[in-house]
């Protein structure tokens, strides 16, 4: 066990985590130059494009250190976005140390801090690494100052590197060996393995990624998931090299995989403890949480014929994303669809993009909602994440909405505009810290609904990209909620209904009306677009009709030509949704979802 090191790389988005991982893999020679594909740990297109790692991954790196001994360095990658903070915490729980990566030009950012705190909670050895020192805008002294002042770490422990150019890599590898402690644990104890990820393989079923703290697991063992009590017979265990490498057993301190005939990743809970059925450990490893989605939206196929395809695609998608949930839903305006739950807005974006890209589906997404809590007059408490299930207003005693604590780091010069934005977003209980010259750490408590609406985009824009942001869900708080509907020529478009704070209703309704006006093409008759609370109209726009489109001549040869043109237009119209007699293009629904900053 002495020759094992388990570690993660943590960083703010774009600080170079994937590039560093690539370099470590390359340097330790797991793969040669030829089959090396940049950023191996991010193997989905979307991850690569967005430069973030969505699902964590792991790899074992063989390393011959300067002390003459051979080590196995297990790199456990972590997702790099606030939506996935629980997954990050489980990956960290599987390590003894982390490389805390800081961009030499950007310095410490909100996620740097959030990740650092999380690593500290797990008592991990932290190695600060200043990356991108090759950049002309690199300011190493400032970063050292920040490591000292803002992170409270000893700046002398840092390592400088340029993952892009490959400098400093050997120093990092030596530091992993020297400074990160080897895992503890006892092969003789009952099995205790922490699940930090699970992947679906169409041939083998679910591949469970885990870290063994105690005991041994091998093929033939009957394992038990401690949270669900479910038992499975182990088919195969092994380590992660570039591909899975089958082993006879994996033992305490190691990182590896277990294949045990688990059908879907949804049967596996990240953070759960695996033990042996006939010799269980006394208690599960700490920190298990059942993560619940916080953002909800409905997905509809644009063409109702595609419903079955959508259902199949969601089922396939779900195989690999346990945190995504969905159930059947139907909308009078948009027909049959699914109500889906996501960990956050980014998660929602990713699901939408993957359905469109990998499964080639055209979908409409409803306005995202959080999960509201209503106490009814008869004392019953209901949770509502779908405006369609909004209780009868007469029955509601009180409404509550989830609040978050937002942690932001920004240059002082943006403080005024950020505070204004937070107040506009109903932020309360602010807290301000000067963490270094010209830099502040600001926190606010605010409704999650405001954050998922457009907060993040606007925050980035008012801080011109220099601000960083992280959040935690804290509690439910009482709120004056109403159901806002959008009507097109008097017909309610249920997919556009939103549960909003009363003070927000009018401005939201106006924005929605204006966006629809821009996106709905003029038709033969006037279209009235209204926003309403109950029977009360709170916003209104109209789209004036076009009045002349007829072609002057239509004789022998014109008829075929004209018909072909009409056929084409009819095809186009099929891709629109009919609300009453009004054809609404998909772009109109999407426009209502858009934040008002772009």
């Amino acid at each position: 066990m002495d020759n094992i090191r388990n570690f993660s790389i943590i960083a703010h988005i774009d600080h170079g985590k994937s590039t560093l991982a690539d370099r470590l893999i390359q340097y330790t020679g797991v793969c040669n130059e030829r089959n090396f594909q940049d950023q191996i740990l991010d193997n989905m297109d979307i991850e690569r494009e967005r430069g973030i790692t969505i699902k964590s991954n792991a790899i074992s790196l063989p390393y011959h250190a300067k002390d003459g001994r051979d080590y196995i360095l297990n790199l456990i990658d972590t997702p790099g976005h606030v939506d996935f903070s629980y997954e990050v915490s489980r990956s960290l729980a599987s390590c003894e140390g982390v490389l805390l990566l800081i961009d030499a030009a950007q310095g410490v950012q909100a996620q740097t801090l959030a990740n650092l705190y999380m690593a500290m909670e797990h008592d991990l050895e932290i190695i600060p690494i200043i990356n991108k020192i090759d950049l002309p805008s690199a300011d190493i002294n400032r970063v050292l100052e920040e490591i000292d002042m803002e992170l409270g770490l000893d700046p002398d422990t840092h390592i400088k590197c340029s993952a892009k150019e490959g400098t400093g890599i050997d120093e990092i590898l030596e530091a992993i060996v020297d400074r990160i402690p080897p895992p503890e644990g006892n092969e003789g104890n009952p099995l205790a393995a922490l699940i930090f990820d699970a992947k679906y393989d169409s041939f083998r079923g679910t591949i469970i990624h885990c870290r063994l703290f105690d005991g041994i697991v091998k093929a033939g063992d009957i394992i038990k998931f401690m949270s669900s009590g479910a038992t499975y017979k182990v088919e195969e265990v092994g380590h992660f090299l570039l591909q899975r490498a089958k082993r006879e057993k994996i033992t305490a301190g190691e990182v590896g995989y277990i294949i045990a005939g688990v059908k879907t990743v949804a049967d596996v809970r990240t953070g759960d403890t695996i033990t042996l059925q006939d010799r269980p450990c006394r208690q599960p490893l700490p920190g298990f949480k059942d993560v619940k989605p916080v953002v909800f939206a409905s997905i509809y196929p644009i063409a109702s014929d595609d419903y079955q395809d959508l259902a199949d695609s969601l089922e396939k998608y779900k195989l690999n994303d346990a945190s995504f949930i969905y159930e059947k839903d139907s909308s009078a305006a948009l027909g049959q669809g699914f109500r889906c739950g996501f960990l956050g807005l980014l998660h929602l974006d990713i699901v939408q993009e993957r359905l469109e890209r990998e499964f080639n589906l055209s979908i409409i997404l409803s306005v995202p909602s959080v999960r509201y809590r209503f106490t009814l007059k008869d004392g019953k408490v209901v949770y509502v994440d779908n405006p369609a299930h909004y209780p009868d207003p007469g029955d509601i005693d009180k409404g509550e909405e989830p609040y978050i604590r937002a942690a932001m780091m920004l240059p002082e010069r943006y403080l005024g505009s950020v505070m204004k934005l937070c107040m506009e977003k109903r932020g309360v209980n602010s807290n301000l810290n000067y963490t270094g010259p010209g830099r502040v750490e600001l926190s606010y408590e605010m409704p999650l609904a405001e954050v998922i609406y457009d907060f993040y985009d606007r925050f980035k824009s008012v801080t011109q990209g220099y601000g960083s942001f992280d959040y935690d869900i804290i509690d439910y708080r009482e709120s004056n909620l109403v159901l806002m509907d959008i009507l097109v020529n008097g017909e309610k478009v249920d997919a556009l209904s939103q549960i909003v704070h009363r003070e927000r209703a009018r401005s939201r309704a106006l924005i929605a009306c204006e966006r629809l006006k821009e996106e709905i093409p003029r038709q033969m008759f006037k279209i009235a677009i209204q926003g309403a609370i109950g029977g009360e109209i709170i916003a209104r726009t109209t789209i004036s009709p076009f009045r002349k489109d007829v072609t002057a001549k239509c004789y022998g040869g014109d008829i075929t030509r004209k018909r072909k043109l009409l056929e084409k237009q009819k095809e186009g119209k099929k891709r629109m949704k009919m609300i009453g007699s009004v054809s609404i293009p998909q772009s109109a629904f999407l426009a209502v979802l858009k934040s008002d900053t772009d």
Binding site: M524, K548, D549, T551, A552, C554, G557, I559, R563, K570
Partner: protein, 383 residues
């Protein structure tokens, strides 16, 4: 879907269109097929006879003949007489046949017109286009206003009591007033038929190029609608029926029977290059080249460019957009019987909306467009 009822069309008489694809000069807005090589005319007429011979027997009896172009008035009386004798030799012609010829005002003398009349041509359509010299100029017409007036008077004197005038509006910066003057001038001749076309620019025409290079402006949608409505109200108040988007008749008797064939899925035979024919839900059209036409007919082949057999959906769509271009509208029972679609049931919601918005009306079993509806007839067909 039931299809037996499509037979309906075959019980009606057919229309015959004869294309004369020659013009001495090309009008700047025209995208019809025509060439200047008048030396090919006699060879062309010989080929035309063969095409008429080939199809004549397949079609039901013709009760409309339309000689269009191009410029049919480039033909001599003898050449026209030959065409008619070819038709009579090979086709069954209904005694009440409407026989129309399109003429260019500059080409016609009183004597020529008298001869046309005595050939049995019962209806004359004169391409006047405008009573404004500057607009005639812009359109690249060969004739003057004076010649236009002379041609109308000569036609009357030659005995034509079914006379149609073609006009164009929306040309450049032409104001409403100028258009009204042209209309009033036309009305002073009490023509039996008036076609008023909004100028539309086809690609590759000189006028289109002018428009693209911003040397020509066209009225915006609001103004187009004004032109349309002014035309409608002026002519309707003068007793004309606005029976199709661009067509007006002094009484129901004077509707163009030939053009109605196109709009009612009746059978029609078009002979000559680029001409279209329709029979038994099949439409075909000839190659748009006089020279290829001559070569193929010379080889004993029909110079067909393409053929399409209309699916029930396509027939429905055509009947809908053609029907909604006419004031009479769509006979709902006939539509259901012929096309197998009950519009009032299948499209109830949208039809109700359009009726509420005064674009459509239900009248004695017909679904018909209002005047405002006619102006957006292309979109009405997308219900």
């Amino acid at each position: 879907m039931k299809q037996k009822s499509f037979n309906n069309a075959e019980n009606t008489n057919a229309g015959l269109y004869i294309h004369i694809p020659f013009c001495l000069s090309k009008c700047s807005y025209c995208s019809f097929y025509s060439i200047k090589s008048v030396n090919l005319i006699s060879a062309y007429l010989a080929a035309l006879h063969k095409e008429i011979l080939f199809y004549g027997g397949i079609f039901p009896p013709f009760d409309t003949i339309y000689i269009g172009g191009g410029t049919p008035s480039l033909l001599t009386v003898e050449q026209l007489a030959d065409i008619f004798s070819a038709i009579h030799r090979t086709c069954t012609i209904d005694p009440q046949t409407e026989v129309t010829i399109e003429v260019n005002p500059g080409d016609v003398s009183k004597v020529y017109l008298q001869s046309l009349h005595s050939l049995g041509i019962s209806r004359i359509n004169i391409g006047i286009q405008s009573f404004s010299e500057s607009i005639l100029n812009m359109l690249g017409r060969r004739h003057s206003v004076k010649e236009a007036v002379a041609a109308i008077n000569a036609a009357r004197q030659a005995g034509f009591d079914n006379l149609g005038i073609d006009l164009i509006y929306g040309v450049g910066k032409q104001g409403l007033k100028k258009w009204e003057n042209t209309l009033l001038k036309a009305l002073s001749f009490r023509p039996e038929h008036l076609s008023c076309y909004q100028l539309s620019l086809a690609a590759r025409t000189p006028l289109y190029k002018k428009y693209q290079s911003c040397k020509l402006s066209l009225p915006d949608e609001k103004k187009q609608l004004k032109f349309f409505l002014v035309t409608d109200s002026l002519l309707e108040s003068s007793g004309y029926l606005h029976y199709e988007v661009s067509n007006f008749a002094r009484s129901a008797l004077f509707k163009s029977k030939h053009n109605m064939k196109y709009w009612q899925h009746a059978p029609y035979l078009g002979v000559g290059p680029a001409a279209h024919s329709f029979l038994n839900n099949k439409r075909w059209w000839n190659k748009a080249s006089v020279r290829n036409y001559l070569v193929e007919i010379g080889r004993g082949k029909m110079p067909v460019e393409n053929t399409e057999t209309l699916s029930p959906d396509q027939l429905q769509l055509e009947a809908l957009f053609l029907g909604l271009r006419s004031k009479t509208g769509i006979n709902l029972n006939n539509y259901t019987a012929r096309y197998g679609l009950d519009l009032l049931t299948e499209k109830k919601a949208i039809i109700d909306t359009l009726i509420k918005n005064k674009l459509l009306e239900l009248h004695e079993g017909f679904l018909r467009p209002t005047t405002a509806g006619m102006a957006v007839a292309d979109s009405l067909a997308l219900i």
